[in-house]
């Protein structure tokens, strides 16, 4: 498979190129004209095919008929709210990954959103980098292969069953949490992973720390996997987050 090869080999792609290799199709369902236009423009700039629906009914019809990789759905929509839209889609057997955007950012709202069938939940206001990173991860999950047992990025290898990590010939010793952090980064190799995504997926916390606590964990991990090697694998993406990949771009 195309994706398989992509992952088994070296991930040589920058985030804005991931989309172009298979022309990701995205449906944005958002009633606020200005933010909708902004999103469409921004996603098209990074190579997505982005369609727009401005109310719940239109969104449902489009999402149901079109073949989209990801849906970005505002929670509060005219004519049919976002949660009911997703619920209806899921009932019809449509499992296109859906990301919910909402002004309601509390934990229980989030849980409600995920329970209704959403795959991710992003409170407003959000940064586009955060949204893009999450959409990338969702679309990859949709189309890509299911769980692999070994992740490889360059000469870095992580065995999910034996919990072994090696770079080249060197065996690396990671703390359990460092292992999970690396596992998550490598699972999404070549994709930007934001700090909040890490906090949510590796630590399962849904609050903003007021400090740079994630950066410290990353720098520890970096010192273990990159220190003393010529080619760094763990990169900081300014204004967005982190990415693990081979090669410098």
């Amino acid at each position: 498979m195309h994706e398989d090869a992509d992952r088994a080999m070296v991930t040589e792609i920058s985030p804005n190129l991931t989309a172009t290799d298979s022309q990701m199709r995205l449906l944005i369902i958002e009633d606020d004209r200005e933010s909708a236009d902004y999103l469409v423009k921004a996603f098209r700039e990074v190579g997505y095919v982005a369609d727009l629906a401005s109310d719940g009914e239109e969104g449902l019809a489009l999402a149901d008929s079109g073949d989209y990789d990801v849906l970005v759905i505002d929670r509060m929509l005219p004519r049919r709210d976002g949660l009911s839209l997703i619920g209806t889609l899921r009932e019809k057997g449509n499992h296109t990954p859906a990301l919910i955007l909402s002004a309601l950012g509390q934990v229980d709202d989030r849980i409600k959103g995920l329970r209704a069938g959403g795959d991710d939940y992003l409170p407003k206001p959000y940064s586009f980098a955060e949204l893009l990173a999450r959409v990338e991860v969702l679309s990859r999950r949709h189309g890509g292969p299911t769980e692999e047992t070994t992740y490889r990025v360059g000469d870095l290898e992580l065995d999910r069953l034996s919990h072994r990590v090696a770079r080249g010939k060197d065996e690396l010793t990671l703390q359990p949490r460092e292992f999970r952090l690396l596992e998550y980064l490598m699972k999404h190799a070549g994709q930007v992973v934001t700090r909040t995504m890490l906090l949510e997926n590796v630590w399962d916390y849904h609050f903003d720390p007021q400090t740079n606590v994630i950066d410290v964990h990353i720098s520890r991990l970096r010192s273990k996997i990159d220190k003393g090697f010529e080619r760094p694998l763990l990169h900081t993406i300014r204004g967005a987050g982190y990415m693990i990949r081979d090669g410098i771009r």
């Binding site: 849904h206 400090t211 204004g239």
Partner: protein, 490 residues
């Protein structure tokens, strides 16, 4: 509505009217029963007397004939308070006795009857009533013996008068009492209404008057006062928040605006524009964080987060937070340690984690030992041990304690209450970053769970403790270590 109208509309007055009616009914039936019984008794007495006399006189007649009879009757009729006597011939002509006139036909029927009569010696007065017995003598003569009913009538009159009088008293006293009670109640209600109006008009410090009797109105006033207390506290909180939002959000907003304006005005290079934009985004991220924290506090304080409660072990939370912050503390040259024991809780795990995270962040930010010349006596512990931050989770009685202890300068006793308030960054830490909401969020979370945030002295340093009631039911099982006992409990 007139004052009187208001008065008679009170519940107290209406109740009084109902009672008044009931009492009047009661008094009337009591008197009626009394009157009826008395009447019966008097009648009985008269019957007995008359019967006896008839026996006596029949006897005399038997022995001494008509002459003896008339003689005896005439004799007896002269006595004071005498009975009524009348003897008539078979033709109906009176031949003896003291009765002047009778209702017609009385003498025709034998046996008991009631009749009007007039005595012989009193012509002018009106008729009287009497209970009479008419007996037929063997030779056709008829004998009437009776008793005046004046006594009975008088007695009945007395009772009737008593009934009228007592009814009057009942009504007057009842109405008076009703008005008195109603006015008393009305006065208190009016006072309450007045206070309520003042409060509605905006004076939230008003309280309802509470009497000393502890009656239902006092209890009502007490609960209403407690409610007002809470409302005032909430309103104060709200006002404080809006003031603080105005201050602490407007400041960074102004900064943001100024920066954008400045960048726009200057003709800088692209790199300079970029830098300005990046700073703008940073600043707005900070604003969003502050805003989120405020919303979180508001949510915790309003109790909305109660929907999302489950059972978990506080020790796990402490270990998780320790794991998250340990590298950060180490980077800052401090050591973050954790000491936990099984401490089951029922609560919102996410919020408690965040509260604890805030305490740890505070400890890392402000808990550095005071190395400079501060008269804290910190020198003794300012060595390696002084840089320790300890997270503890344990159970203490029926509470679960989550403590974070640092050995920094601490917070002076007088500032501790103040420190929990929103946006307060104590003077010493003004220069450091942070929204100043950490402690207030922790405090709001503790309150949401029915607990509190305590700030104590670690000699030197600060111990911040989230004290939260332990999960109900666990204490029993923990206390009963042996399995068969716990089965009994279950």
């Amino acid at each position: 509505m007139t004052a009187f109208g208001k008065l008679i509309r009170t519940t107290a007055f209406r109740l009084t009217l109902v009672y008044l009616f009931l009492f009047a009914l009661f008094a009337a039936s009591l008197l009626g029963y009394f009157a009826w019984n008395t009447r019966r008794l008097i009648t009985e007495q008269i019957t007995t007397t008359v019967n006896a006399e008839i026996g006596e006189i029949s006897d005399i007649y038997g022995r001494r004939g008509l002459r003896g009879l008339i003689f005896t009757i005439e004799n007896r009729a002269l006595r004071p308070g005498a009975n009524l006597y009348l003897v008539t011939t078979p033709a109906g002509q009176a031949i003896g006795g003291n009765v002047g006139s009778l209702a017609p036909g009385v003498m025709a029927t034998t046996g008991w009857s009631e009749t009007d009569y007039r005595r012989l010696d009193e012509q002018d007065t009106a008729d009287h009533r009497a209970l009479v017995y008419v007996a037929e003598l063997p030779n056709g003569f008829r004998l009437l013996i009776g008793r005046d009913l004046e006594e009975r009538r008088r007695l009945f009159g007395i009772v009737a008068k008593a009934a009228q009088f007592s009814l009057l008293i009942v009504v007057v006293l009842g109405l008076g009492g009703g008005i008195f009670v109603a006015r008393r109640v009305l006065r208190r209600i009016d006072a309450m209404t007045g206070t309520t109006r003042r409060i509605m008009a905006g004076d939230l410090s008003g309280r309802l008057p509470v009497g000393r009797s502890g009656d239902e109105l006092d209890r009502l006033a007490e609960s209403l006062n407690a409610m007002l207390e809470r409302i005032e506290a909430l309103m104060m909180g709200l006002k404080e928040v809006s003031d603080n939002i105005a201050h602490d959000l407007k400041t960074p907003l102004t900064r943001l605006r100024n920066r954008a304006e400045e960048a726009l005005a200057s003709s800088g290079s692209e790199a300079e524009y970029r830098a300005a934009l990046e700073r703008t985004i940073e600043e707005s991220d900070g604003l969003i964080r502050t805003f989120n924290a405020l919303l979180m506090i508001a949510r915790a304080e309003s109790g909305q987060a109660r929907d999302n409660m489950d059972n978990f072990d506080a020790a796990e939370v402490a270990n998780g937070i320790h794991e998250l912050y340990e590298p950060l503390a180490e980077d800052d040259g401090m050591s973050l340690n954790v000491r936990t024991a099984f401490a089951p809780l029922h609560g919102n795990r996410e919020l408690i984690s965040q509260a604890l995270a805030n305490l740890v962040e505070n400890a890392i930010k402000y808990g550095k030992p005071a190395l400079s010349a501060q008269p804290l006596g910190a020198d003794a512990v300012a060595g390696a041990g002084g840089k320790e931050i300890l997270i503890e989770a344990r159970r203490d009685g029926d509470q679960v304690l989550l403590c974070v202890t640092d050995h920094g300068p601490g917070i002076p006793e007088s500032d501790r209450k103040h420190a929990v308030e929103r946006f307060v960054r104590l003077e010493a830490s003004r220069t450091q970053s942070g929204s100043g909401l950490g402690l207030s969020l922790a405090s709001a979370v503790a309150t949401l769970h029915g607990g509190e945030l305590r700030l104590g002295d670690a000699h030197p340093g600060l111990t911040a403790t989230l004290a939260i009631p332990a999960r109900a039911g666990i204490s029993v099982r923990l206390a009963a270590q042996t399995p068969n006992v716990s089965q009994k409990v279950a």
